[in-house]
Amino acid sequence: MTGHAPAKRPNQLFRNLNSKIASIPMILIAMGIFLGGSLWTILYSFTNSKLLPRLSFVGLDQYERLWNTSRWIVSIQNLAIYGILSLIFSLVIGFLLAALMDQKIRFENAFRTIFLYPFALSFIVTGLVWQWILNPEFGIQGIVRSLGFENFTFDPLYNPDIVIYGILIAGLWQGTGLVMCLMLAGLRGIDEDIWKAARVDGIPMWRTYLFVVIPMMRPVFITTLVIIASGIVKVYDLVVAQTSGGPGNASEVPAKYVYDYMFQAQNLGQGFAASTMMLLTVAIIIIPWAYLEFGGKKRG
């Protein structure tokens, strides 16, 4: 770096000038929005901005208020329940479906098309369909009752205790197809010779999956995990469409909290603090992954 002759300096700026000009939007977006915007939000989360952002710092007051607000606590609890269950179920269901699809079956394309089509639909559409299916009067509950089980109760969207599971059902319906596709790609990446070796050793198929194939698919699992997890933190439209956060505030999620405080309650400081907490959550997921993925190259 320092060894270069100073005479070369002026040229440096104009090398690849067209490329630099063409990259201006990318640079602006990366530095201005992604980096700058995030820092801006973090900075203003320490202020008491209300209707308009103002730089009057109040330290951690907003965070204190945030964690004393029952609605935020409910949101975080919901996100935790939804997140953990949806991770487990979508990984398990996705992997099982992929393993079944990997058996050289007929109509593979038809099955894949069916499993994946919900992923093409928006969360709004997903939420509204499941709102209808879970409608206590006409939906599943109504039908089972009309079959003679008068006391059958299944009204997740109207019961504050289980409303988050109603949302989970819809979320899983929408998202497991993607997981299945990723897992299937991972399974197809396993060398046939591995299967032959396991076969020669007389290892039953389920054990081969459990002790050989799944450990080999570690990178696929981790990537999938990160994708699902960063999607979960963003969950917003699904809740808005299915329950609007209700009954009461039993199905609130952080993303909705942020939106409501920023654009409805005009309490920007709270919104900023809450969104910074979301950023922190994502960072907790992403940083270990990035470390494993890019930092742990010695592992081999």
Binding site: T41, L116, Y117, S122, V125, V129, L178, M205
Partner: protein
């Protein structure tokens, strides 16, 4: 490849005779209705039914009249098919004071979709091209920030964007929303294009440079014609993504320019009036139709698009 069929049969603990993996193998007639097959296809079919059920319910409900919905169950096929809910959803359903149905939202969405897709793909493809073929000092750093940005929740960046658009005087306008979609589509699209351009033989690029072609000439004459498949993948990704967007629609548009998803939610979840479930389901289907058609037509390319989305980061 052919051996795998014998491998699998043992998996279900069935038919251990087929141990001769390396031996000469004739075509051993396979029983179609083996226990393994019944379980395999049984499970897959049940799963397929579960996935198809909501689509079926949507279609069936949207073709019934309200009296029939109140009487029957949601799974039964309509006794009398009526298209009235569809007409009503398209042309008459109310949101607030506007009673011209989802058609307004549809055209709003189309107006948002077309420029957003074009602009975002153009900007991202040029950036990807720069990153792949014309690296400069710091370009990889910007790219890394962009990719990390894909994981940042939108809620963190949304207010700074609001301010930026307000300063530019385009907050609440179509231009503003196009900019927003371009911004948030950048990470994945740039990654997609960068990787694709980097996989093209670099000799072509060098030959064109020796022939005196510049940055834009190589992009337009060489890269673009060679990369049509990836442009199609990017288009699928953006069309479904932008059409399905809700958050940006709510934040960055005004009620009379709401995209279809927002309008749909307002129609279905409005608290006023009698709930017309058949109209709601017709409206839901209408909104889902565009991405569904894209999905069914594009088939494998769609899978490729989400696979590309999956390797982000």
């Amino acid at each position: 490849m052919a051996n795998i069929s014998t491998l699998n049969t043992t998996g279900a603990g069935f038919d251990t005779v087929a141990a001769d993996v390396s031996g000469p193998r004739g075509r051993r007639p396979k029983r179609v209705l083996s226990r393994r097959n019944i379980i395999l296809y049984g499970v897959l079919s049940v799963a397929a039914l579960y996935y198809l059920l909501p689509l079926y319910v949507m279609v069936v409900t949207s073709l019934k009249g309200m009296p029939e919905i109140r009487m029957g169950n949601i799974f039964s096929p309509p006794m009398e098919i009526t298209f009235e809910p569809w007409v009503k959803a398209w042309a008459e359903a109310c949101t607030g004071l506007n009673c011209d149905g989802l058609s307004r939202g549809f055209w709003n969405s189309v107006q948002i979709l077309v420029p957003s897709v074009v602009v975002s793909i153009f900007v991202a493809s040029v950036s990807g091209y720069s990153l792949a073929n014309w690296r400069f000092k710091g370009s990889e750093l910007f790219f890394s920030i962009l990719i990390i940005g894909a994981f940042i929740p939108y809620q963190v960046m949304i207010y700074p964007v609001v301010i930026a658009l307000r300063e530019l005087g385009v907050y609440g306008t179509l231009t503003g929303l196009v900019i927003v979609h371009t911004i948030f589509g950048m990470p994945i699209l740039t990654l997609l294009f960068r990787n694709y351009f980097a996989s093209l033989p670099v000799e072509l690029f060098k030959a064109a440079r020796i022939d005196g072609a510049g940055f834009w000439q190589i992009y337009l004459r060489i890269m673009l014609p060679m990369s049509l498949p990836i442009f199609v993948v990017a288009m699928i990704l953006q069309v479904t993504g932008i059409w399905n967007d809700f958050l940006f629609g709510v934040v960055f548009t005004r009620p009379d320019t709401y995209p279809m998803t927002v309008q749909l939610n307002n129609i279905v979840n409005s608290v006023q009036g009698v709930k017309e479930y058949n109209v709601n389901m017709a409206a839901t289907l209408l909104t889902g139709a565009v991405p569904l058609i894209v999905y069914f037509v594009s088939g494998r390319l769609f899978v490729r698009g989400i696979a590309a989305g999956a390797v982000k980061g």
